[in-house]
């Protein structure tokens, strides 16, 4: 540390950027990180409750039962999907806040995993938002559409959001891997959170079985592929937000010390 060359120069300029005050340096970081829980709350309300996706309409319902739902609750679904498509985009700023913190975890690492995290998280917006449009389409003219068409649209929304999981697995694994390289005495992301993140990402592989079942634990409404996997994902969002938030003041203090003695 006594030798300036000890800095990874990339990280060096990330930290030691004397023109930027600490305030400017960390500006917007917290706002972006806070978008994670905002997204989660809004998504649970809009997509989950209003859109009747928590719990999902079972895959073994008949087309008529499903049509009944759309024809009764079309206004709730419209509102829910409009909200889900709006708030789903907040996954992006949240991802960016994590990216910023990840870049400073370990100055002896290159930025491959943080970049992959940003891309995977950014592209997660695609299934979150585009799957909603299928449900929204069903609720737009529920009386004119055939029950089988409504069923197809509802299926398609679920197949898209469930089966595009791997783009979300990539950032989850990346956060874990990057966090584990942390050399601090007290790491920014504790080891347990890193391992949880990796495990949670890999646990999504159970979704591979989802298209094969209409009922049981692997179906979209099944206890494993719905309740366990979505709770695991929601918990991941909260845990990572919490430690990202806690990391920001610590990084600010580190930088201040560094600037002070430069």
């Amino acid at each position: 540390m006594n030798d300036p060359r000890m800095f990874n120069t990339e990280a060096y300029f990330r930290y030691y950027n004397p023109v930027l005050s600490n305030e400017s340096y960390f500006k917007y970081w917290r706002v972006c990180a806070a978008m994670g829980p905002v997204f989660l709350a809004a998504f649970i309300i809009c997509w989950g409750v209003l859109g009747s996706n928590i719990p999902p309409i079972p895959a073994d319902f008949t087309a008529d039962q499903l049509a009944q739902h759309f024809r009764t609750n079309y206004n709730e679904v419209r509102a829910g999907m409009s909200g889900a498509m709006l708030f789903g985009c907040l996954y992006l700023p949240w991802t960016l806040a994590i990216y910023k913190v990840m870049q400073l975890i370990n100055r002896n690492e290159n930025d491959i995993v943080s970049t992959l995290q940003m891309w995977g998280g950014g592209l997660t917006v695609v299934p979150l938002v585009t799957s909603s449009v299928f449900w929204l389409t069903g609720s737009y003219r529920p009386d004119e559409l055939d029950p089988k068409t409504l069923q197809m649209l509802y299926d398609q929304g679920w197949l898209l959001i469930d089966m595009f999981y791997f783009i979300t697995t990539i950032p989850m694994v990346c956060i874990g891997v990057a966090g584990l390289t942390d050399q601090r005495a007290k790491p920014l992301f504790p080891r347990w959170a890193c391992w949880y993140s990796i495990w949670a990402g890999l646990s999504f592989l159970f979704e591979l079985l989802m298209p094969f079942f209409k009922s049981g634990l692997f179906a979209r409404q099944g206890w494993l592929n719905f309740w366990v996997e979505f709770v695991v994902w929601f918990a991941y969002i909260l845990i990572i937000t919490f430690f990202t938030m806690k990391a920001i003041p610590r990084l600010a203090k580190e930088r201040e010390e560094m600037l002070g003695r430069a």
Partner: protein, 203 residues
């Protein structure tokens, strides 16, 4: 940047507590497997005949063989970890190699078993028992593959980095993981293969 006390980011962790970290992974895994086992028992109680009948089509000798393979391989890893603690590098490597080679037998036996099922057109949709059968053994198989990868990794890693301060943590983490693979089979075997045998209780 003159002489100064290093800020926190400079402090290097000598003990990378991989072990306590990987426990989270293992516990999360065991919770989900525990849920699957419970789901199996609950669903089984509703259709006892189907489950028992299907279970009887499984070859429990193969299941038992797999149990022995994994326990033996797990034992080799125990010896490897002990050797690592005592600094006996060659012994460590040989035990890891033994664990890997014996473990490979599990892959062979599983391939035979799956091949036989597919040859009889038995799949996940045959009935609920087989759904659980393929889900549990399949998920376990993926864990097994991950474990074999970890054994291979630690063997190659020991060639160059056996002296590194974090090596002990790494090998213990791999050992713990391999014991979990082992333990899961110890739970899967009686549930899938033995329960259905409907042994009569002794008089």
């Amino acid at each position: 940047m003159e002489h100064s006390t290093a800020p926190t980011i400079g402090a290097s962790r000598d003990q990378r507590d991989l072990v306590s970290g990987i426990l989270v992974f293992i516990i999360a895994d065991l919770i989900v497997f525990g849920m699957l086992f419970t789901g199996f028992m609950v669903d089984r109680s509703k259709e006892l005949a189907v489950y028992n009948q299907s279970a009887n089509t499984l070859d429990y000798h193969l299941g038992l063989l797999n149990l022995l393979i994994l326990v033996t391989s797990g034992l080799c890893v125990v010896f490897a970890v002990t050797a690592a603690r005592e600094g006996r590098l060659t012994a460590l490597r040989n035990w890891i190699l033994a664990a890997f080679v014996i473990g490979a037998g599990f892959g062979v036996s599983k391939a035979i078993e799956y091949g036989d099922k597919f040859a009889h057109d038995i799949g996940m949709h045959t009935n609920p028992f087989y759904m659980y059968y393929f889900a549990l053994t399949g998920a376990h198989f993926l864990h097994f593959l991950g474990g074999m990868g970890a054994l291979a990794f630690i063997w190659f890693y020991s060639l160059r980095h056996a002296g590194a301060p974090d090596f002990r943590g790494k090998i213990e983490a791999v050992g713990l993981y391999w014991h979990m693979v082992d333990l899961l089979w110890i739970l899967i075997f009686p549930l899938l293969y033995v329960l259905g045998l409907q042994w009569q209780p002794c008089p």
